[in-house]
């Protein structure tokens, strides 16, 4: 029972990463009908930008001789990195995807793969193959609740993730840009007739998705402080699985499926030998998709006709 609760805590943290990354996949899909396969690498870039910002802020504080608290550096790092990484997303949309908007979807998909490889190898060329260790900005404090151990970092990671998701939810439900995104997910060809500029809506969507991926990258660095240029690949693919499992284009579905994936993986590793983790976990996902091919919240609607 104790281990069960402990695993739930771990799964919440693990699922947070998937959920945050899956949201970016899902948002872009819902408005442009394409999966941005570079998204996992944007997560990696976000983590590296976070590393740069955190290191820079710490150096700045040391230089000025100011005793800046670690949590402040952490919060600033997240905000600044989300902001900066969003421009990576905007750039990718502009250079990689916009010229291919009318192209077959397969071409757009391989564009994403290529951009991903460019980001990985570009990072490798720029910073070398050595792994970086993400600065430990806050000391780990462990709380014992009953017989379950929870660290302040875990609480922080889950709380920040949930807040970001809630913020995204408000944005999509309450703002006119969010409304345009919802409309786009239903019928992307009719949206320009409303006077909405796709060339503004698409970069905004990439910006938000990339910002969320950056947040995930920093939170990941906080929990697993080793960065390498290929860190986004497996995590990105798994988050992509979550986006599909949630239902293509469903924001709520992506978040829930991200957490579900975290739970399935953690519990598979608990019950079976940990080398079996992904084998078991993804067999389960495959089974779920067999019975729900559109995912949890995916619509089988066919409104995406040519106008």
């Amino acid at each position: 029972m104790d281990l069960f609760l402990q695993n739930i805590v771990n799964a919440l943290q693990w699922g947070s990463f998937y959920a945050l990354i899956a949201l970016g996949y899902s948002m872009v899909y819902s408005i442009l009908m394409l999966f941005n396969f570079a998204h996992g690498d944007i997560f990696m870039v976000g983590a590296y930008i976070g590393f740069g910002i955190a290191t820079g802020l710490l150096a700045l504080a040391a230089m000025a001789g100011l005793p800046v608290p670690g949590w402040l550096v952490l919060v600033l790092t997240i905000i600044i990195s989300m902001f900066l990484t969003s421009f990576v997303g905007i750039f990718i949309e502009r250079v990689g995807y916009r010229p291919l908007r009318e192209a077959p979807r397969a071409s757009a998909a391989i564009t994403g793969l290529m951009i991903g490889i460019i980001l990985e190898t570009g990072n490798l060329a720029l910073l070398g193959a050595r792994r970086l260790s993400f600065p430990s900005l806050i000391d780990t404090v462990t709380f014992q609740i009953g017989s379950v151990y929870v660290t302040n970092k875990k609480i922080f990671i889950v709380a920040v993730s949930l807040s970001l998701m809630f913020g995204l939810h408000l944005f999509i439900q309450k703002t006119k840009w969010g409304m345009a995104m919802r409309a786009m997910s239903y019928d992307f060809q009719a949206v320009p007739l409303m006077g909405v500029s796709i060339n503004k809506l698409a970069p905004l969507t990439f910006a938000i998705g990339s910002g969320l991926a950056a947040a995930a990258g920093i939170l990941y660095g906080l929990a697993y402080p080793v960065l390498d240029p290929y860190m986004g690949i497996l995590l990105g693919w798994k988050a992509f699985v979550a986006a599909i499992l949630g239902g293509r284009g469903s924001i709520l579905g992506a978040a829930l499926a991200g957490f579900l994936l975290g739970f399935i993986e953690i519990f598979a590793a608990w019950i079976f030998p940990s080398t079996f983790r992904d084998l078991i976990a993804y067999s389960i996902i495959l089974l779920i998709l067999t019975f729900r091919p559109h995912g949890f919240f995916g619509q089988a609607h066919s409104t995406q006709l040519r106008l």
Binding site: A183, A190, M194, V196, L307
Partner: protein, 237 residues
């Protein structure tokens, strides 16, 4: 002339579907283009809305501005050309109110938006009763009302209507055209494309007949209604 179309040519995958059509519309007019399925009616409207590219050599001007330099969203937001697409294309996941609001996305004239909204509710009181309902759950007639109301909210210098009668029962059809006439009286030019030629010609002042991507006949509606060729081909004898 408010809208001038000269030598409009459109191709889909290199196959020409519009072979250079010419027509003009004056401000405040109601003009219809009638023709069979696949003759190029919808393509003409989509070209004006810039949803599909026009081939080289085409000329399209709206109030003296070169339409070919406009992106589709700016055709709506800057020129006030609204388009009710074939099959209505409502955002079924948004409420009635949200559909109307979304149409004002790029508009900044808050006061006028309010007035336009009142106008839409005056013409289609049913919409006001359905404001918070998801538009996907509306009846066919209500959906058409919303499609027209939404287009009105996006801008109403001219309204391009693509088969608004489609799928409507005869009575609803007539009241829809009454509503359109009311919108026209308020100053909106109307370009209507229809398969239901009799209905369209009774509604419009002038008409064009399109066949295989070419305009083959034009004239006042009354003349076209009397034209033996039109009668034979489009009015059922």
């Amino acid at each position: 002339m408010q809208l001038v179309i000269r030598n409009l040519q459109v191709s889909y995958d290199k196959i020409k579907v519009l072979h250079g059509i010419d027509f003009t519309i004056a401000k405040g007019e109601i003009v219809t283009i009638i023709g069979a399925n696949g003759a190029g009616k919808s393509t003409t409207l989509k070209a004006i809305s810039r949803l599909i590219p026009a081939d080289k050599g085409s000329v399209m001007e709206f109030e003296g501005k070169d339409l070919l330099t406009y992106q589709p969203d700016r055709v709506v937001s800057e020129l006030g050309i609204s388009h009710v697409p074939e099959g209505r294309r409502l955002f079924g996941n948004l409420t009635v109110l949200e559909n109307l609001q979304l149409a004002t996305f790029a508009r900044k004239d808050r006061e006028q938006i309010k007035k336009d909204m009142e106008q839409v509710f005056a013409i289609f009181p049913r919409l006001k009763e359905r404001l918070t309902q998801a538009s996907g759950t509306l009846s066919g007639g209500e959906q058409q009302m919303l499609a027209v109301g939404r287009a009105y909210m996006s801008g109403h210098k001219i309204m391009l209507l693509d088969e608004p009668s489609m799928g409507l029962a005869p009575l609803l059809m007539l009241s829809m055209f009454d509503a359109l006439r009311e919108i026209n009286k308020e100053g909106t030019t109307i370009l209507l494309v229809e398969q239901n030629a009799r209905l369209a010609l009774k509604f419009a002042q002038r008409g064009y007949v399109i066949e295989n991507g070419r305009l083959v006949l034009e004239g006042p509606s009354a003349d076209l209604l009397d034209n033996p060729d039109v009668k034979k081909a489009y009015l059922g004898g």
